[in-house]
């Protein structure tokens, strides 16, 4: 649940905030006509994303890397154009108050250019983010338990909660922008956010180029000596998704903040107590909208930081248990390991190498899954117990307990043992032979 709560929030928050800013700006500038531009952009984005999601999940026709390269380039160009057009248009008409004007003649050629650019940008932002998000519910990892399972519903809950959280924030952000009624402020915030978005798209496009794919052979070949700035920038942007989300969403918080500050005191003249009460009520209502936006911003922020840190916390391996050594053999009583839980043991060799192994009783059977606390794929990271599952600490793969003891993949490396006289018995020579795996 937590994984999808934070992943979907990160996926959708930045695009949603940018679209909300476009929408606010267009609404303030063009009245209801502005709504239509962005709504049509959203419909175009959702429709094409649904097609892309379907193609990605049912065919092998989509080379995501190539698509994304061109999406980044197009988004970067449109972002810059939208910012420039909006600034020019707003500058030209800065003496006017557009909000509420809903006439056919109201927007002019410049307005059409801004609106169409905004609609295309909205469609592209959704086209990049939505296909994967739309596909999450059909690809939830449920350890083979299918759609009608707690695993599925808990992931679905995280997924839906994230969408709700993002929607609530942008909803209140939009209301703040409308209440603020300042095209200039919204435009300034939007253009600052667009600047970061253009920079991010440039860096992400670079990340494709620096990998030197053949399909980019029409571009100058990347060389770290000739373009020493390119890889650090690509690295920063690919590793810094959270940074860009926080900066862009953080910038958007300026709108609720200004709205709140402007409504701490009553503004405007009043002639009688009734008008005073009305102004107080309007100010109080605006402060509440601003606080609600700040509240949902904080929830999103906590989701991307605290929830993420908790979800990705380092798992501590359980402490090793005791056993008895008799001569060249290690004895572990069966009753010590027959409760179905994961049991860990270790032996420190003369070379000071800590050899670990695990034992778990297989469900519905009298047999035991025995293996080294290491696998061929993930090395000596080890395994831990999560509920009734045994999970690889490094790759988070849930093991099939019934196959523990078999060779291959992420299974624990098999370790010879025998059962005799109520004990599981290991030869010391087998433990010492496993030393190599833990060096």
């Amino acid at each position: 649940m937590l994984k999808y709560l934070e992943t979907v929030t990160e996926d959708m928050l930045m695009a949603s905030v940018l679209i909300c800013l476009f929408w606010s700006m267009c609404r303030l500038a063009f009245g209801r006509k502005g709504d239509r531009f962005i709504l049509i952009g959203m419909i175009a984005g959702v429709v094409s994303s649904a097609v892309m999601a379907w193609m990605k999940n049912t065919t092998s026709k989509i080379a995501t890397n190539q698509w994304n390269f061109f999406i980044f380039l197009a988004t970067m160009i449109l972002t810059i154009l939208f910012g420039i057009f909006s600034a020019i248009f707003a500058r030209k008409h800065r003496q006017l108050t557009f909000y509420g004007s809903d006439t056919e003649a109201g927007i002019g050629t410049g307005g059409w250019i801004v609106g169409i650019t905004g609609a295309l940008l909205t469609a592209l932002l959704l086209f990049y983010e939505l296909p994967d998000v739309l596909a999450y519910p059909v690809n939830f990892e449920t350890a083979g338990k299918g759609f009608l399972s707690m695993e599925y519903f808990s992931r679905l809950a995280g997924f839906l909660l994230a969408l709700l959280l993002v929607w609530l924030y942008v909803r209140f952000l939009y209301r703040c922008a409308m209440a603020l009624d300042s095209t200039k402020t919204v435009l300034a915030v939007m253009n600052a956010a667009l600047l970061f978005n253009a920079f991010r798209c440039f860096g992400l496009a670079l990340s494709k180029w620096t990998a030197r794919p053949r399909w980019l052979s029409w571009m100058p070949p990347y060389s770290s000596s000739r373009y020493p700035w390119a890889f650090p920038l690509a690295k920063f942007t690919t590793n810094g998704t959270l940074f860009f989300v926080l900066v862009i969403v953080g910038l958007s918080l300026i709108i609720p903040l200004i709205l709140f500050l402007r409504n701490i005191r009553i503004r405007g003249e009043y002639a009688n107590p009734a008008q005073h009460r009305k102004l107080k009520s309007v100010s109080r209502s605006r402060r509440r909208i601003a606080l609600a936006a700040a509240f949902f911003f904080t929830l999103c922020l906590l989701n991307l930081t605290v929830v993420r840190a908790y979800n990705n916390r380092e798992v501590e391996l359980s402490p090793p248990e005791t056993y008895e050594i008799r001569g060249e053999e290690i004895f572990i009583p069966m009753e010590q390991v027959s409760d179905g839980n994961l049991h860990r043991f270790e032996y420190i060799t003369d070379n000071n190498v800590n050899v670990r192994w695990i034992i778990v009783r297989k469900p519905g059977a009298g047999s035991y899954g025995v293996g080294l606390d290491a696998c061929d794929v993930c090395g000596t990271a080890g395994y831990y117990q999560r509920g009734e599952q045994v999970v690889c600490k490094r790759c988070d793969v849930v093991m099939n307990i019934n196959t523990i003891g078999f060779k291959g993949g992420c299974n624990p490396i098999p370790l010879n043992y025998r059962i005799d006289g109520g004990s599981i018995i290991f030869q010391m020579s087998d433990i010492l032979a496993a030393e190599r795996e833990f060096k």
Binding site: K61, K208, K235, T238, G408, N411
Partner: protein
Amino acid sequence: MKKILALVLSVAMLLSLSVAMAQEAGFEEFPITLDGSNPEAAEEVDLEVAPLHVAAVYFQPVQMEPADQAGLSVEESNIHLEADIHWNENDLGFGAGDWLAYATVDYKIVSETTGKVAAEGSFMVMNADDGAHYGANIALPESDTYTLTFIIHSPAENGYLLHVDEETGVKGRFWADPIEVNFVHWEYTVQEW
């Protein structure tokens, strides 16, 4: 208004159509060079470690069977890393160009920025449509400059025998210590497959 509607819906249709009519995507291998240089400009992409010829490539994570022995799934990994190791001219009886079989090949990916191990383990043996190789799906979620090391253990460690008699024997012997091959300054950025 109708003009806008027509225009933007046209864009949606164009985007959707271009997606729907896309050709088979196929896949592309990304070579990892010994010194981080451009594969096309590098004089020697692969390493000649007598008696072996070693190359490293990565590409999109792949599905493998049996799935429960295949390590990380496509969703859990970022790349599929391959070690392509073939015999050079040798006195062990292998033909030049033959694939190195029966060896254990470990890998270690170390960040040159932090010095921390980003991934390590042993490759699995598998076949793709271009033949046998050592490989694994690997989670490498951070873009960084890495040193990739292959540690190639001798087939003798897995019990591979050599004839040594006068009539049928070979002159050479397997290497005693594992061969380490380093690919430095690997500038890796996370890709979306």
